[in-house]
């Protein structure tokens, strides 16, 4: 009797336990914290071996492996001081980890030969190169690497090409490198031919870009084509017979296009693809026959694949049919293009990693990148196209909180940079966290942002505090007009770096426009950017700053006029000024100067100094602390 009762209650307990347990697990997380949005994705990188059999995953600071036959297994070869920037395979067995030293910025390439023994992955050999550069080619049969080692001379970047016996030593030093290029001439990009010799080089010197190439009759590289100015040119494939170079370039165009260059006649042979309002980012190549399959560009802030071959021939179309919903981003494919690793991001969800086999018409779910946000309905982002008076088209991203209201407080969030940086529609922890707290956010790709062509980029030069701010204000007004839940009277501005500067200029330009401003790591004194101790004696950096900010020697007055520091008296809107003591990009002196002036003038403001914080956050603890203050401040000033 007792035993029967015991069994009954035990059974009841387990049934309840598992029922409740699975119910709880199936529910979206209860209350979410900033950490949930800002902590790193479960997988930082993933790579598929060329035969598609092995998958390497970068999980935190470690590398994991799995295949059809072997379950997930850890390979622990990560140094504490190095962060892995990229993971990829050279063939079926050689895995490369590109790493960067956290403090010194030194590059390291770690090569692991991964074999399968006794049903486990084993690292059977390893070596490393401690140098900045890139791998041009891997010669599988000889286990030899063709490596371009990057160096600089007087600030000019160049690369020499070396053949390196990959596992000759554990640490491969320059004396183990066998140089194969004859000239350097500031060549940065190299292409190696079938013979293993360099066939194309791209140099950028003295403000001019040049293409160096060999021909069938002339093996030595010579300068085939020198442009009148410096252009963007990313080479993909060179056909020595026809002297045709496949490349993404902005030659003779405002936008980056996918083209075939005829080096013999120094002309564009064919434009493979161009887009009116977007730069082409890359060409997807067929690795078996070195033919272009598709190009990528950003459409509505997300990577878009445009086919260069007929749809029917493309594995991309097959993949699309296997995962029809949401955004698809290809991470890698096997050489025969039947197996693929990709990210799929359904609407209002976080991205998940999939392994797909187009020959089997199947996709296997590997993991969500943010499993703790699985089941959480993310805020929706709307893409806005905003025309300007001078004929530009601005792209902006408005993220609205899920909670409906007829008065949603708006936070305008200009991005940093300002030149050559952009916002996208990919998962943005700041926008999502603020949306979770009830705020709408508007991120504007103002003039100067990347991806919209050269003209658009250059229009941002010397427009700090001027046309850039007008773009932000225009897009803000546009969004408020279009979305009835937003009100002109209920908005603040918050940004970091240039965005922090923009927040300050926003309230200086018009004290009634915003209810409050949050400036994190913001520039306050434009002339201070040129201090020898800010640019660290880097002549190239100074030259770039003169181009994008203005010249402090000839136009100090203008720089001061557009510096929040010298306009401090106009700051009357509630301000939260935040800076980290370890900021190496915008020195904390910027914040200290403005704080000193505001304090001395008796202008009320909030000033927070974060010890050990750099130009951005390195721990979720810092983010929690930061957003705790920012959200409280926004709540105080917005309805």
């Amino acid at each position: 009797m007792f035993r029967a009762l015991y069994q009954f209650y035990s059974l009841l307990f387990f049934v309840c336990y598992f029922t409740i347990g699975s119910f709880v697990n199936a529910q979206p997380a209860g209350k979410l914290y900033a950490e949930d949005f800002f902590r790193s994705a479960v997988i930082q990188d993933a790579a598929l071996s060329l035969n598609g059999e092995k998958v390497a995953l970068q999980i935190g600071s470690e590398i994991y492996m799995y295949s059809n036959q072997i379950d997930l297994q850890r390979l622990s070869f990560m140094s504490l001081y190095y962060q892995t920037a990229s993971v990829y395979w050279l063939d079926n067995d050689i895995l490369v980890l590109e790493q960067v030293h956290e403090r010194t910025g030194q590059y390291k390439f770690l090569f692991l030969e991964v074999s399968v023994k006794d049903g486990e992955f084993k690292v059977t050999d390893e070596s490393r190169i401690e140098s900045d550069g890139y791998i041009i080619k891997y010669h599988s049969e000889k286990k030899m690497l063709t490596f371009a080692k990057l160096d600089s001379d007087d600030g000019e970047l160049y690369a020499n090409v070396y053949n390196i016996e990959m596992f000759k030593k554990a640490k491969l030093r320059p004396e183990d490198f066998d140089k194969i290029n004859r000239q350097s001439d500031n060549i940065v990009h190299w292409i190696i031919g079938a013979s293993g010799k360099p066939v194309v080089g791209i140099s950028h010197e003295g403000g001019k870009t040049a293409i160096w190439a060999s021909t069938r009759s002339r093996r030595k590289l010579s300068k085939s084509w020198e442009m009148d100015n410096e252009i963007y040119l990313a080479p993909y494939h060179y056909d020595k017979d026809s002297q045709h170079l496949l490349a993404v370039t902005d030659l003779d165009s405002d936008k980056q296009r996918a083209v075939i260059l005829d080096l013999g006649n120094r002309q564009i042979e064919k434009v493979l693809f161009e887009k009116e309002n977007a730069d082409v980012n890359a060409i997807v190549m067929d690795s078996e026959n070195s033919a272009p399959i598709a190009v990528t560009y950003l459409k509505n802030g997300l990577t878009h694949y445009e086919h260069l071959v007929t749809d029917e021939d493309s594995f991309l179309k097959e993949l699309r049919s296997l995962l029809p919903d949401g955004q698809m981003d290809l991470l890698g494919s096997s050489q025969n293009q039947s197996k693929h690793l990709l990210l799929n991001t359904p609407e209002q969800s976080v991205a998940s990693l999939y392994s797909c086999d187009t020959s089997q018409n199947s996709c296997e779910f590997i993991t969500s990148l943010h499993p703790w946000l699985e089941g959480t309905k993310l805020a929706t982002t709307h893409t806005l196209q905003v025309p300007t008076d001078d004929g530009l088209m601005l792209e902006a991203f408005l993220t609205l909180p899920n909670r409906k209201s007829d008065n949603v407080p708006l936070v305008v969030m200009p991005h940093g940079g300002p030149i050559g940086v952009r916002d996208t529609d990919y998962f943005n922890p700041d926008a999502q966290w603020l949306a979770y707290n009830g705020f709408a956010t508007l991120r504007v790709n103002y003039r100067g942002s990347k991806g919209y062509g050269n003209e658009f980029l250059k229009k941002g030069f010397e427009q700090w505090g001027r046309a850039i701010e007008e773009d932000i204000e225009l897009a803000t007004d546009f969004a408020i007009e279009k979305f009835s839940e937003l009100l002109h009277s209920n908005k603040c501005i918050y940004g970091s770096s240039y965005g922090g500067y923009s927040a300050l200029m926003g309230i200086i330009r018009d004290s009634s426009r915003y209810r409050c401003a949050v400036s994190f790591a913001g520039v306050t004194d434009l002339s201070l950017l040129f201090s020898p101790y800010s640019v660290r004696q880097n002549a190239k950096l100074r030259e770039f700053l003169v181009k994008v900010v203005g010249d402090p020697t000839s136009d100090l007055e203008t720089l001061q006029y557009y510096s929040p520091l010298y306009q401090y008296q106009k700051i009357t809107t509630p301000l939260l000024l935040i800076h980290g003591t370890e900021d190496n990009v915008v020195d904390i002196e910027h914040a200290w100067r403005l704080n000193l002036m505001l304090d001395s003038a008796g202008i009320k403001h909030n000033f927070l100094v974060f010890d050990d914080l750099g130009h951005s956050f390195s721990t979720t603890g810092q983010v929690e602390l930061f957003y705790d203050r920012v959200v409280k401040f926004l709540n105080l000033h917005l309805e």
């Binding site: 201070l528 201090s531 101790y533 402090p552 020697t553 001061q560 002196e589 100067r593 000193l596």
Partner: protein
């Protein structure tokens, strides 16, 4: 029949009560002994601190005008140590030491070894600060007191907390480096009087398991300049160590230098004779002074 008789229960209870009573008596005695011991220790420590403080005052009177710090042959007249508020430190330290020693009563069950350790540790810490501080009991200087070839320099050092001192050297002379004792503070500020001319930051000394390690940065060419008759804003020096590696750089530190000058050296706060010798083209110092003269700021 009950297993335990009522009579037997009464005896047991009585014995128990007696035992409890004796135990509490013993505990009370032990507690009193412990209190006495801790009180004696606190008294010893306070006596030690008072004696040290007395010595410090007597030195202060003895070196009324100035004190030469650094090495013989080097003229460096230091002004009153500003950022390091000695009296405040002593008060905080006394409170901290008392709290630590008092914790032995409860947290460490009156462990005599722990009490001895804490006592010695606190005295050792106090000795270090006192001996470092003796060198800095000096009088203030005014710009008018400067000789023709002298100027004042604002020294601003940010370093890892275990850095004991940072030194600099006058380039024109074969002199020994001039050492600035930073007391292991992560931020250090003071105004010193120096001969006009060109100087370069020389080295830093870091605590290293009872001894110290010297990091030389002579090769970094970290120069600063002193103009005669001026309060020279020479920028900050940022020095960080990571194991045996280090990073050193000069930084623009005008804002904090102004703030500290106003706070600790009000006699210089008018802005008169201020000069940024690190980045002469930096207009902020002039802007600040102009705003001050205009009445835009206090």
């Amino acid at each position: 029949m009950p297993l335990i008789s009522p009579r037997r229960t009464t005896i047991t209870k009585t014995v128990m009560i007696l035992l409890l009573f004796m135990s509490s008596l013993m505990q009370a005695k032990a507690a009193t002994e412990c209190d006495e011991l801790v009180d004696e220790t606190l008294l010893d420590l306070d006596t030690f601190l008072a004696k040290k403080q007395e010595q410090r005052h007597s030195l202060q009177q003895r070196f009324g005008e100035h004190v030469v710090a650094g090495k013989p042959g080097v003229e460096i007249y230091q002004l009153e140590l500003a950022l390091f508020d000695f009296e405040k430190w002593l008060s905080n330290f006394t409170e901290f030491a008392h709290s630590n020693i008092n914790s032995v009563r409860h947290d460490y069950k009156c462990d005599k070894k722990m009490l001895k350790f804490l006592h010695e540790h606190m005295e050792k810490n106090a000795k270090t600060i006192f001996s470092a501080n003796y060198k800095n009991i000096v009088a203030r200087f005014n710009l008018t007191d400067l000789k023709e070839d002298e100027g004042l320099a604002i020294i601003f050092i940010e370093s890892t907390p275990n850095v004991l001192s940072v030194s600099f050297k006058r380039d024109a002379r074969r002199a020994d480096p001039i050492e600035v004792n930073t007391f292991g503070l992560d931020k250090y500020f003071r105004v010193v009087k120096l001969k006009a001319g060109e100087y370069s930051w020389h080295s830093a000394k870091r605590n290293n398991r009872g001894g110290y390690t010297v990091f030389s940065f002579e090769d970094h060419n970290l120069k600063f300049f002193i103009q005669p008759g001026k309060l020279n804003f020479i920028g900050g020096l940022k020095f960080d160590t990571h194991g045996n590696r280090y990073a050193v750089e000069q930084m623009d530190r005008v804002a904090n230098s102004i703030k500290e000058v106003i706070k600790y050296y009000p006699e210089f706060s008018s802005g008169e004779n201020w000069v940024n010798t690190l980045v002469p083209e930096d207009n902020f110092l002039n802007f600040y002074i102009a705003q001050k003269l205009d009445g835009g700021i206090k």
